[in-house]
Symmetry: C2
Subunit: 293 residues, 2 copies
Amino acid sequence: MTVRDFSQDHAWLSINTATVRRQQGLEVPLDRIVDQCAERGIRAISPWRDQVAAVGIGRIARQLKAHGMQLSGYCRGGFYPATDAAGWQRALDDNRRAIDEAKTLDAPCLVLVVGSLPGAVEGQAAYTSLARARSEVHDGIAASLAYARSVGMPLAIEPLHPMQAAERSCINTLEQALDVCDALDPDQIGGLGVAVDTYHVWWDPKLQAQIGRAGQRRLLACHVSDWLTPTRDLLNDRGMVGDGVIEFKRIRAWMEAAGFAGFSEVEIFSQTWWQRAGGEVLDTCIARHRQVV
Amino acid sequence: MTVRDFSQDHAWLSINTATVRRQQGLEVPLDRIVDQCAERGIRAISPWRDQVAAVGIGRIARQLKAHGMQLSGYCRGGFYPATDAAGWQRALDDNRRAIDEAKTLDAPCLVLVVGSLPGAVEGQAAYTSLARARSEVHDGIAASLAYARSVGMPLAIEPLHPMQAAERSCINTLEQALDVCDALDPDQIGGLGVAVDTYHVWWDPKLQAQIGRAGQRRLLACHVSDWLTPTRDLLNDRGMVGDGVIEFKRIRAWMEAAGFAGFSEVEIFSQTWWQRAGGEVLDTCIARHRQVV
């Protein structure tokens, strides 16, 4: 089993469009980002729903087609836990719309950031039971999965770093995400898997074993960004690949040994990189993809 | 199995002296902190080596004896990984001294923060292999354990939150810490266990199961502080118990069901609480211990 050679080109590079959503401190529309990627021969992107909505999904779909570009994923569904029945229904409806949008854009999967304690993102958790949040997330994914299967859109659960456990995701390890997959898709019919983001999982002593457990059918996406020392912010201080301590080649070797053969998607939330010119950021992503991923 | 009632007194409260090491922004010597705790009927503390050294270990030992105070642990040993043989030997020697000091102070255990990538705390990791750091940590604990057993000082491995995986500890879950215990002490002879710090492990979906696995012989210490939303700093933004989202009573019930019957040690690294008066901080610890722990 040999690992794919990324050093000669960037055929397997994808840009998560959050990476360049702000350029030199200013918000940049998605159609401009798509052009910037196309100009550099980048074959795939992973856009966010709000970016798509701001330009119009029909226009983005046509633009991608014209450039011959594909998606490596669509960001994002999830955020299931709610405090009442109305909130719960809103979450399910919203995920249904996200699935429809992913389908329109011909995404290979909808990435799920599942949510956690309701209200915690705003600073005041409505309840503190992680067990309850996890139960609601289980039920929410089950509901979305039924619809997603009916339209043929795979769902990729993204375990988030434990430092996001209160606010953004109560699924915090790959093992836990795969346990949910096994519970909801025991026969591996398909349509349910995981997005492995190096930033969220690099620390996990069970990472290699769980990537192997996931296997080709469950490994739906691979995101990269680096862990900086020091890390100054829990959300927006991710590093450019190569600037931190994550061993990308090692993790990619585990992914490919398990059968993954998709894009390596650069997703960097960083106040630092959002201050730079978009072209410079994309050129750096290409160079680092060849060198260190 | 009933859980101990903490609501009527603070007999099982311990103060980790880092919590009040700075008061109103100023460094306070350990002997003063011991007096402040004794005045409030606090029966136990867990001091740090630098605080002890600054006053003198003999003096602290006599002061504790005069007050009838005990330790709930001694902070700390660990930081094993090194870049060369000399550094490795320094780490082993330093841990030996920490064990001797813990013995002098009659501590129930020496807490181990095991270290990770050498140099990462200073911002530049000398290497990035977590596997290597974990191997060195395994060997380091083995070496310390041989000496610790010879003098009768239990070692408590403290898994640190994954956000500390690069700089301070490559042991990041209770399961991983217990795997090390099982590898180095397969027959549970004793003298090796874990310190469960709620701040580091609260998010773990396997927490209840692993506390049960640990059992009475491996559960050597219990630390409490709270997870704030938002958390603004990875190191020094811990919350006073009751100000965040951690379910202390639930976790304590799991600990006691597994046989733990020791102190609940408040350990808060917080720029906010270090600005307040020491008496106010300690009084708040006592009140919250009764209310929410």
